[in-house]
Symmetry: C2
Subunit: 195 residues, 2 copies
């Protein structure tokens, strides 16, 4: 019996073990017992902190998620948008399609849990996208007036959908989303008034 861990230290060790176990056996085979074993602790210790695998996994994934304060400004809406989508892809790939579906599945019945999940995982990227659009507006590249919420998050919705269905997002897909859909949609909405 080694040094007995408590509080923050113990909690972190469990989150670490969860992440390792997740990487090794995948989300489908992730189990509380397995995590406890790997963390060198026991089930009750985990259950005392997290009511179920869902909350544990959400906390675990959240703590691992790279967040970025701001996208480097490239000076063009197109490139900025692509940068946001690549960050989004990076985040999704870390979690993997199975775990994303797993979390969404567990959460799809419970509106409150859904809200938490959205806040933790989606809001960040959405706000980056907002920044990108606002910047373009500030540069005079586009007129934000006709831009609805839905239009702003269009590239993110499409990239996420791509990942959820196919399990990947190729560079070509990102380009296509921006060039074949997003920019034309802005164009057709009259956002590029000066052109």
């Amino acid at each position: 019996m080694t040094q007995r861990r408590r509080g923050e230290e113990l909690e972190q060790a469990i989150l670490d073990a969860t992440w390792e176990e997740f990487g090794e056996v995948g989300f489908a085979k992730l189990t509380i017992e397995g995590v406890a074993r790997r963390a060198g602790t026991s089930k009750p210790v985990i259950y005392r902190r997290w009511p179920s695998m869902l909350e544990l996994m959400v906390d675990c994934a959240t703590s691992r998620m790279p967040t970025v304060d701001s996208i480097p400004e490239t000076g063009a809406l197109r490139e900025d948008t692509i940068a946001v989508l690549k960050l989004l892809r990076e985040r999704m790939v870390m979690i993997g399609p199975a775990a994303m579906h797993g979390m969404l599945s567990l959460v799809s019945l419970d509106p409150e849990a859904l809200r938490v999940l959205v806040t933790r995982f989606i809001s960040h990227v959405l706000s980056l996208m907002d920044t990108v659009v606002d910047r373009a507006a500030a540069r005079g590249e586009l007129d934000p007036t006709p831009l609805t919420e839905r239009l702003r998050r269009l590239p993110i919705d499409l990239a996420r959908n791509e990942f959820l269905i196919t399990g990947r997002v190729e560079d070509e897909a990102i380009d296509a989303i921006v060039d074949e859909v997003f920019l034309p949609a802005l164009q057709g909405s009259g956002a590029f008034a000066t052109e």
Copy 2:
């Protein structure tokens, strides 16, 4: 011991039981044992036919899925598209978000299984959407030349994404997808050349 069922009849009874059990306990708690119990048969009988819950559920859902040969032509691309999205919604609601995520999750590792799932569940709606676009082209409502695959399936991708994330697709969402995104994107792509 009642009459012993065989072959097609037995198979159908199992699919029926699966659907009933699914409706009652939900996808998360769906079990082979439960289905066998409800169908009045036993696990080996099911395992002889389906290697796992995934295949069983896919077959079950497929057999219940309303397929429509063609969308009634309204004479306008906008209304036709909305009709396709409402059919898609109907299909997704039948399955429910949890089961959709469940199936996608189970399938996300196996490219071949993914292909099967896509063929069974997605292709149908995609081809309806294609028909709708082709019709609009035939009416001279739009020029299909600049329409990429991605642009054609744009409304479907967005509606599916909406459902996967929020678990529902309101009428307003459908309208917004068509009016704020799809039609402007066609516009911006130069598909409405004559306007």
